[in-house]
């Protein structure tokens, strides 16, 4: 039941330890392109992905949304292919393709029959350097991304609230700027902006090739050398130097009111460390902390106490994203039952944190989480595309193959004491952003749908 409610509210938890696991083959081409191969011979298919170590957090000031806009334009013409032909060829071969942009990475992928891998590489290599920017298509596609923003963000009070929360949480780091972009800046994005971003970042020495499925590393190496090998490395590839956060010394509050809100809730966010190359211990402990305190299921403290014992919450959970380039957020969410105010819901969250710090960890619950993490490795093997995606996220956020392969061991090594220590560090006088998502005091009558029939 709980997962349905979380979906309706737009609050979804990442499955426990949904990170890459198992062994892979890794090598580098002479031009610096990193290659990772995940073998799975159960289905005669491959997932072919190229990830660039660049995302929305690497955008020039004033050009929010340019990383994502460029991702859209990558499906237009190159010097050798017509606009739209990339997807046309993929589909004519029975494949599917798409792309995605986040703060830390941009990725392109196709899923096709294994014997089409060379063709995919040929086309992906072509658009790595030879994209053609046409003014008419740039203008039309800008309209498409504005519609995308309208659909995903402006039509959703929860999405608008999250945007405001992040903007408040990050005082200086670009993680506070939405990936899709601020509307007023998106409207001004130009062909030249897109071209400059492309020329700066889209090079083989800034790319990771991930191939997962019915292939061998030898086959991948031969094809990758043929198609990606000839592309020269960029000598001018910049470092990813981003503005960093100053110490957070003040608590901040965000009140967002929207007449479309159905279930008001409170969210408390604070900065938290993430997995660092060579040191994943703190992040591993925080994964347990989020699960023990607010994993979403009936066993976690927040839901056990607030939903089941006291019946004061419809949903209460903790969220932690362990994988990003720079420190990111730990958040606590509480959706109160009708009749419980947001002020009370906020106090309930802190009461749960204090209870956790006082009571410590139930040994049985801890052991069950450990076993689930262990079993997660088995279940994840079933989803090769998901594995490929996890690897991409981890490698583009600065982790090494050794870090990724060591993550399960890092999780297995966590002790209850480690979790308590991490909890004390996190909750010892943190500066937080506390947000209320609520309806205006007097609901506008127009929020009730009225219907005009034909």
């Amino acid at each position: 039941m709980l997962h349905r409610l979380a979906l309706a509210l737009g609050l979804t938890l990442t499955p426990l330890a949904a990170q890459a696991a198992g062994e892979v083959e890794e090598f580098f081409l002479d031009n610096g392109m990193q290659v990772v191969v995940i073998e799975d011979h159960r289905t005669p298919a491959v997932t072919h992905m190229v990830w660039y170590r660049v995302g929305a957090a690497d955008e020039p000031p004033g050009q929010s949304g340019i990383a994502h806009f460029l991702e859209h334009l990558m499906f237009k013409a190159t010097d050798d292919m017509a606009s739209g032909q990339f997807s046309e060829v993929v589909e004519a071969n029975g494949g599917s393709d798409n792309a995605f942009t986040a703060w830390d990475y941009t990725g392109y992928f196709q899923r096709v029959a294994a014997d089409r891998l060379g063709l995919m590489m040929q086309m992906e290599a072509d658009r790595m350097r030879d994209l053609v920017f046409d003014p008419v298509e740039v203008a039309t596609e800008r309209s498409v991304i504005l519609e995308e923003r309208a659909q995903r963000t402006d039509s959703s009070p929860g999405a608008l609230f999250n945007e405001q929360m992040r903007a408040a949480l990050f005082l200086n780091h670009p993680y506070g700027i939405p990936i899709i972009g601020w509307r007023h800046e998106m409207e001004g994005l130009t062909l030249e902006n897109a071209r400059a971003f492309y020329e700066t970042w889209y090079h083989p020495n800034n790319a990771i090739l991930i191939v997962a499925g019915d292939v061998t590393p030898e086959e991948v190496r031969a094809l990758a050398e043929e198609h990606y090998g000839p592309i020269p490395a960029s000598a001018a590839l910049p470092e990813r130097l981003r503005p960093t956060e100053p110490p957070h010394i003040a608590d901040r509050r965000v009140i967002y009111e929207d007449e479309r809100v159905a279930n008001p809730y409170v969210s408390i966010q604070m900065l938290a460390p993430v997995r660092e190359p060579g040191d994943q211990r703190e992040a591993a402990a925080l994964v347990y902390l989020a699960e023990l305190l607010g994993g979403g299921g009936p066993s976690a403290l927040m839901s056990r106490q607030l939903q089941f014992e006291e019946e004061r919450s419809l949903y209460a959970a903790a969220f932690y994203d362990s994988t990003s380039v720079d420190p990111s957020g730990f958040s606590l969410v509480n959706v109160p039952v009708p009749g419980v105010s947001l002020e009370e819901a906020e106090a309930d969250i802190w009461r749960m944190v204090e209870t956790f710090l006082e009571q410590g960890i139930d040994a049985d619950h801890f052991a069950r989480i450990q076993f689930q993490i262990e079993a997660g490795e088995i279940y994840e093997e079933d989803d090769t595309q998901g594995l490929a995606r996890s690897w991409g996220v981890e490698l583009t956020t600065g982790l090494t193959v050794a870090d990724v392969e060591g993550w399960t061991a890092a999780l297995a090594a966590v002790t209850p004491e480690d979790v308590m220590d991490a909890a004390r560090r996190l909750f010892d006088d943190p500066s937080t952003v506390t947000g209320y998502l609520q309806r205006p005091a007097e609901p506008a009558p127009e929020a009730q749908p009225t219907e005009v029939n034909q």
């Binding site: 509210l9 017509a82 004519a92 029959a113 089409r116 019946e311 949903y315 127009e446």
Partner: protein
Amino acid sequence: MIARIAATLVALAVPLPATADIDIQEVTSPGGIDAWLVEDDSIPFVALEFWFIGGSGLDPAEARGATYLMTGLLEEGAADMDAQAFAAAQEALATSFVVDSFRDAIVVSAQMLTQNRDAAADLLRAALVEPRFDADAIERTRGQVISIIESNERDPSDIATTTFNRLAYGDHPYGTTQEGTVEVVSRLTREDIVAAYRATLTRDRVVVGAAGDITPEELGLLIDRILGDLPAEAPPRPGPAEFGLEGGVTVVDFPTPQASVFFGHAGIARDDPDFFAAFVLNQVLGGGGFRSRLMEQVRVERGLTYGIGTFLSLADLSPTLLGQFSSSNDLVAQAIEVVQAEWADLAENGITQDELDAAIRYMTGEYPLRFDGNATIAGILAAMQSDDMPVEYIENRNAYVEAVTLEDVRRVAARLLRPEDLHFVVVGRPEGLSPGN
């Protein structure tokens, strides 16, 4: 390089795998329940999928929402366990159960490790055969369902779908949402919930798909262990739903910068001789991917939307051809005109040979790639049985698609696509769209 890629493409267009290389074993449990199995011991777990045909469509009108609430309660206490104890047992076994309610079926998806499969099966059996429906669990879950209903009532895309269905089907279960209304859900009793349980979870209406690390003999025993104690027979399903919506536009006023649109008209049944032609036609019209007519005309050419798609809905009791998209309030009228024009053009002229070839290449190439992972395969196997398809369908399906001719598509387009019958529900503040156009 265009020429080089095009040449490569033509050269490669032929040798795609013609069929999926899937070995399905038909299993009948000692207790008489049929199942399909794809055995694969490469990962030590099994994925199971149980489809109980009937679903929330079996709700009586006065207790609409009872099945949805009931499925939300199955894991909230069973046998001697309350919700906490059940969750703890599940965590200790690292097994996952997902129970989903739909208007034509209740779907239970489970994953179990080989190392503790029997214990996991006993736990799933408890949820399905011995749910407790405790008073406190009912109240807690009722509160969650009401918040879901209230959330859906303020979501423009949900409002569009719900309005369309109400206008199309009226009092038939297809005309109302399976979550029910706040009013009805507030007064559902434990008796309503138990009645929904008895009506929907029965042995005669279940189909089973399984994939992974299990032998046919083990699977038969496991199914009886889980389902053997369920009642044998279910009450009858409701009759066919009459699609009662005529062409036109319905505007639902809602404060949002971007209008959500849901549209469609009556469709075509899976057993219709022209079904595969319609399937190909829909692929060209608004099927997945970036290359459909509607994606080309509405998104790529004009930038009027982020995405638009159509699908043949094969709902058991009323097949339809449906579509949806969102456009800013000042663009939506134009987008609707483009959809209407494409509809009319295809109805009159059919598709081109190039479009037919591309659609067939895509559909036949994509099909074998679907059988990807135990969880996915178990789902496909259950879905096929729910549609009464034979095991051989997988082998023959691409041949059916390849047999579709230009003339077949022209014929079915003229019959299926009726621009004058197309009804659009628009939720937002659309500009320049009078409800009567």
